[in-house]
Symmetry: C2
């Protein structure tokens, strides 16, 4: 018997998380009695075996955050965010969505629920790391963002650590790898191309590759992200110590490997739909390449796929427009 809230329920990860919660009807071995879904737009809801409460509004607004806290959720998932590219293009929106929605929710919970601090599972990002990137980044490597997106995520992590230390929430922040293959329309700027160069050709559209083929990046599938969030909801947070943020496991995938898998699945026709930017905007040093994710692995976080081919298979089975149609 538990009340669960999802902030950002209409986002890419939010929708997948809500689908899974509706399908499972339970979390951490406990039946869900109420799901509170929050977003700026009302999410399209699947059939749910529990009460669904919809809060539509700007969740950075204190009143909306208080409405959420008044439902006394026992588990809160915060998966509301703009893309990295959007946070850096629309500066004010980036801070509002990526920082103030989390701050408003966490502080409203502190004020409303002093005796029942909920588990607060926050979708952070490896975007908190900036260059230089060692070949393998361990859990002690300092986070030093080089984007507004990463700055906002790091600020949310700081607040989650502080509020958790004081017992106002029981927080955990997951530094998610870049999520690929993202369903839906192509996204532009920064790491969107890791999805675009697979999704678009497989669905018969052209895609721009703005990176050199030796680029390697840390990737996890949308299903892995949902698995991580659910695992975080039931984890013994006493094991986290003071640092409530941890890097999630992923796969270090090169663009070369991506194109090989694309060719294997879609053939040379698919490969011919790739337009290479010359000279490329991104080189080997542009992205973090690999993480040990040692703390997360020790705590039982496991990616759903073992290879990039697995990740593409997941997309083809569930998310591609062809699978949906």
């Amino acid at each position: 018997m538990t009340r669960v809230a999802v902030i950002g329920a209409d986002g890419m990860i939010g929708r997948k998380l809500v689908e899974r919660l509706c399908a499972d009807g339970a979390i951490a071995g406990t039946q869900i009695t109420q799901l509170i879904v929050c977003d700026i737009r009302a999410p399209r809801m699947p059939v749910a075996p529990f009460t669904v409460t919809t809060l539509v509004g700007d969740m950075s607004n204190e009143i909306n955050a208080e409405d959420l806290a008044a439902w006394q959720p026992e588990i809160v998932f915060h998966v509301a965010a703009t893309f990295m590219g959007q946070a850096d293009l629309d500066f004010s929106a980036g801070y509002r969505i990526n920082f103030f929605t989390a701050y408003a929710a966490i502080d409203a919970i502190r004020r409303a629920l002093p005796l029942a601090p909920p588990r607060f599972v926050y979708a952070s990002s490896i975007g908190v790391y900036g260059p230089p990137f060692p070949d393998l980044i361990d859990d002690d490597y300092p986070a030093q963002p080089d984007s507004s997106y990463g700055t906002q995520k790091l600020m949310c992590e700081a607040i989650i650590n502080d509020y958790s230390r004081l017992g106002f929430i029981d927080g955990i922040a997951l530094r998610l790898p870049t999520i690929a293959i993202r369903p839906g329309p192509a996204t532009h700027g920064n790491s969107g191309f890791f999805s675009n160069i697979i999704r678009e050709p497989l669905e018969g559209r052209r895609a721009l590759l703005p990176a050199s083929t030796d680029v390697v990046h840390w990737i996890a599938s949308p299903n892995s992200a949902v698995d991580y969030l659910l695992h975080a909801a039931r984890l013994d947070t006493a094991k986290l110590g003071q640092q409530r943020a941890l890097v999630m496991p992923g796969l270090a995938v090169s663009v070369t490997e991506q194109l090989q898998v694309l060719a294997e699945i879609g053939g040379s026709d698919a490969l011919a739909l790739i337009d290479r930017l010359d000279p490329p905007s991104y080189g080997r040093e542009s992205f973090p390449r690999a993480f040990t994710a040692a703390r997360a692995l020790e705590l039982g976080f496991r990616p759903s796929g073992q290879s990039f081919a697995d990740i593409v298979a997941e997309f083809s089975a569930g998310d591609s427009a062809k699978a949906a149609s």
Copy 2:
């Protein structure tokens, strides 16, 4: 010809900074034409050789921050903060004063002064570091606060890095050592005792020592803090790179050394005014002990004293109630 603003002008460091600016009449070799002093209370102003504009109000309020930005300051000093103890006791006030006053000012400047981003000198703190503390902390050691105060300072640093990267401000954040000897009444909680155990006995009052004598801590005098702020105002920030926050030089002073200096200056009478808490609340691992401060030293930041005796002499000459009377 330059316009200078001081946010937190009635605080301990703010008052000393304003005194110095009034005495010098210039900064970075340029004559000051206007000084805008901001605080929740109107500061008592010394005679000033330039126009003084006073803004009294809660600087976390957006309207007040816009009033400040409308004066188009070319150099802004942000030295508004609660003590660490206060930020952790009065949680909301801590976030309001230590985070939102800086955020409001920086974002108001972004909106108002896109063509004239001011130098923004921010008083951060070694409170951004939490345990475990190595014997010597270098500039690469990750900041991981264990207090709300440190969290708020770290969030301000994150914003200063991001806004500076985008050219909205030209920011620099100084991680100041614990300031001792603080003038004025005794402060309680956390690091206040490093000042209390000197100031109080020298002025004939009892003082509580809540730490074991093997405690070592990183200390700078109030005058050093002002020197650092002024040096930061004229520094070539291109040398800072992406990380605009840096640890300031200080002295690693043990409580044993403090008591020796107290005995040398005040004799056994002064020493007899110390009450030792038994068992002590703080041990050797409670505080960061020493920093390389290598980046700051390379950039020309220099402490005013070479020993703890120098620091006490500075206090006796300028700040003690006896000197003032």
